[in-house]
């Protein structure tokens, strides 16, 4: 409701201010026939900017500070004698009841007189502050409008001003990308730092036992990264063993051997795999691939667990196939044709040309592509959550259940916001590890690929 009112007021303000600037500008033209620097739209936008910015600033200030002010006012409405008797939970309960009364929804059970009084007081306070803020915003907007209108003359460079504002807005949008990174680093580092106040970093990075005590209490349990790391690396290795040959060979076949028509059909079909959500792969691993591998194992006398590093790795490999194949395809297409012609001209067969000339020439780029694939495999979550078996134990066999960094993040952070104990904070330490590892891989891989591209440009 309030939001609608605010939106309505802002839209009206926008319309009026734009119209004012526009018509004043039109009048300039008709009145004295002077050549006007900017077209009426720019004067309209110029006025609109001057009207909207102050109004928005005031509204944003209220959004930022209003919550705290209202909170303090509400607390002040609770009689002193009752206030002292309330603990934190009790205070929160009382505040919720008062706010419910104030909003008019009503509360369950009998209401104490002081609750009703406080509710009424908060209701009128809310109304007054809301109306006050809105009026203030309108006044500020109006003042901006009037100022801008007074400045409109034929010589006003409204277009330049508007374009500068547009530029600043564009810059702000690109800053979002930077802010995201800053946000990621800041949140991971601060929360991980809190975690390291509980657990010695050495115990975390070199510990071999992963056994968080999720029940809480003074005994936090142990948080050794190594079992998770080994699981992650094992699954990643299996995934690469599946994805690299299949992906690379299919890229080679599609780009070097396949007739155009076959390529036009097969390439998008393989890339479908890249578009399938990972949760679907997880389900596929859990209900189909896992049981199949288990039965296959028992048929050849191998004990393979249905949820294991092997299951997760194989399915993750399938997921990465199109990633490897389209990146390698790209890279191989960048190798100049003349190199291939050179080999053909010497009488090399097509496979000799590919193996001896094309692949070595494309090698740096392909290595970059593989590193990107590795980084992706390390960060993949849903497949391992469903199919790796969630057994954070240091093991060498890929046939047994394992756990990974990402699985443990999901397990430890189930949406609780109560980041007070190491049980949940460890998620951020794991996330930081993951972020740093993948970041290094990505930077390195992108660097290699870039160098490779430059080489043939």
């Amino acid at each position: 409701m309030n939001a609608l009112v605010v939106a309505g007021v802002l839209i009206v303000l926008l319309g009026i201010s734009y119209q004012t600037g526009w018509s004043k500008s039109r009048n300039l033209v008709t009145a004295d026939g002077v050549k006007v620097h900017s077209r009426p739209q720019y004067h309209g936008s110029f006025t609109a900017i001057w009207a909207m910015v102050p109004a928005l600033v005031i509204l944003l200030l209220w959004v930022w500070l209003g919550g705290g002010i209202t909170h303090n006012y509400t607390v002040a409405q609770i009689p002193q004698d009752i206030l002292v008797s309330l603990d934190q939970a009790g205070l929160n309960g009382a505040l919720i009841r008062i706010n419910a009364l104030a909003s008019g929804y009503g509360v369950a059970g009998e209401t104490a007189p002081w609750e009703q009084a406080a509710g009424d007081a908060v209701r009128s306070f809310n109304f007054l502050t809301f109306a006050g803020t809105l009026v203030l915003a309108i006044v500020a907007g109006g003042a901006g409008l009037a100022y801008a209108r007074s400045r409109i003359t034929a010589r006003l460079r409204a277009r330049n001003t508007v374009e500068r504002v547009v530029n600043v807005l564009l810059l702000a949008c690109s800053a979002v990308a930077i802010l995201t990174t800053v946000g990621i680093v800041a949140s991971l580092v601060t929360e991980a730092y809190k975690f390291f106040t509980f657990i010695n970093p050495l115990d975390f990075f070199f510990g071999t036992v992963w056994a968080p005590n999720n029940a809480g209490g003074d005994n936090h349990g142990s948080y050794g990264l190594l079992p998770l790391l080994s699981g992650t690396l094992m699954i990643t290795a299996i995934a690469m063993i599946v994805a690299v040959p299949v992906g690379l060979l299919s890229a080679i076949y599609l780009s070097q051997y396949a007739p155009k028509s076959f390529r036009a059909v097969a390439k998008p079909l393989i890339e479908i795999l890249a578009g399938i959500p990972t949760i679907v792969f997880g389900f596929f691993a859990l209900v189909t691939v896992g049981p199949f591998l288990r039965d296959f194992g028992s048929a050849i006398g191998l004990q393979i667990s249905a949820t294991s590093a092997l299951t997760a790795g194989v399915v993750m490999g399938i997921m990465i196939i199109p990633f490897v194949s389209s990146l390698s395809d790209d890279i191989m297409n960048q190798v100049p044709r003349t190199l291939r012609d050179g080999a053909y001209g010497l009488g090399a067969t097509q496979s000799e040309t590919i193996r001896n000339v094309l692949l070595p020439a494309a090698l740096p780029g392909i290595v970059g592509a593989f590193l990107l694939a590795v980084s992706r495999a390390i960060g993949e979550t849903m497949i391992v959550v469903l199919a790796a078996g969630n057994a954070p134990i240091l093991r060498g066999s890929p046939f047994e259940p394992v756990s990974t960094i990402t699985v443990s993040i999901v397990n430890q952070l189930t949406g609780d916001t109560d980041f007070t104990g190491p049980q949940s904070l460890v998620g951020f330490a794991l996330g930081l590890t993951l972020f740093v590892v993948t970041l290094c891989l990505n930077i390195f891989a992108l660097y290699i690929v870039r160098r490779f591209r430059e080489q043939y440009e």
Binding site: L339, G342, Y344, G347, V357, P360, A361
Partner: protein, 278 residues
């Protein structure tokens, strides 16, 4: 061995000098092409080319760009096979053997007909490995010593050995443009081809490097049948004994180089040589 003919040619690098035109025609014919056509998709790039190419002489194909001279050159070792949608008709025979016969192995053919390309294209490997690549894939060397010898002699023949003998293990891509092109020639020679096709081998090189390559071509003529496509009429006049003029996918005129340049029969040829087309 036809050393005498080679000696004679060496002194006759320009058109004005006396040279017996019947000299090369009397040689055995290595390649015969009859009514060769090439289609790229629906577009016809060559119209019924027929030509004979004599043994151990340089035959030059000239003509304005897009005239089909490179396309025809690529037919001779079936490089057009690697281009999707290219269709070749007619017959080309090497020593009487149809090179488009289904039974013919294109790998073997290309070992017999080597090729040097427009832009130097050394593999991103060492100089040694570049030259050794052909002998390796074809199994021409029984052991390392054999291979070493092939590499050294090929580099020598290509006139590059003295310049690179101390850095055979350095990458071939690190050489200068002219050196790279000579490396590519050495690479082609190392397989021991009978015919060498050169597709505008000097177009990416400076005049000095070009002169070195031209001299090299003249030397190679003693042992190899050479077909060279060139943009430059001066180059054709300098290095070739026979010249064929292509225009718009047709073979307009062919004959001994002197005849083509001094006394062209066809008006189009004359116009081209006079610099009016192209």
């Amino acid at each position: 061995m036809d050393m005498l003919a080679g000696k004679v040619k060496k002194t006759s690098l320009n058109v004005d000098s006396a040279m017996n035109p019947t000299d090369v025609l009397e040689r055995p014919i290595r390649l015969t092409a009859r009514d060769v056509t090439v289609h790229y998709g629906t577009k016809q790039a060559l119209h019924g080319i027929s030509i004979d190419i004599p043994d151990r002489a340089v035959t030059a194909f000239i003509g304005p760009s897009g005239c089909g001279k490179s396309t025809f050159l690529r037919c001779i070792n079936r490089m057009n096979d690697t281009i999707e949608g290219a269709k070749v008709g007619g017959t080309i025979k090497l020593d009487g053997e149809d090179i488009y016969a289904p039974a013919l192995d294109v790998v073997e053919l290309r070992a017999r007909i080597g090729m040097v390309f427009q832009k130097p294209n050394p593999f991103p490997k060492s100089i040694y490995d570049n030259v050794a690549y052909g002998p390796r894939i074809h199994g021409l060397a029984r052991n390392k010593a054999d291979l070493d010898e092939i590499v050294v002699s090929s580099l020598r023949k290509a006139g590059l050995f003295e310049e690179v003998k101390d850095r055979l293990q350095e990458p071939g891509t690190g050489l200068s443009g002219g050196q790279q092109q000579r490396l590519c020639i050495a690479r082609a020679i190392a397989v021991g081809p009978e015919v060498i096709l050169m597709d505008e081998p000097c177009s990416a090189l400076d005049p000095i490097a070009t002169a070195v390559i031209e001299e090299l071509i003249d030397e190679l003529r003693e042992n190899y049948t050479i077909v060279i496509v060139t943009h430059s009429m001066q180059q054709a006049a300098r290095v070739s004994q026979r010249t064929a003029f292509f225009h718009l996918g047709n073979l307009i005129e062919q004959g001994p180089t002197e005849d083509i340049f001094t006394n062209p029969v066809n008006k189009q040829t004359q116009d081209y040589i006079m610099g009016r087309i192209g």
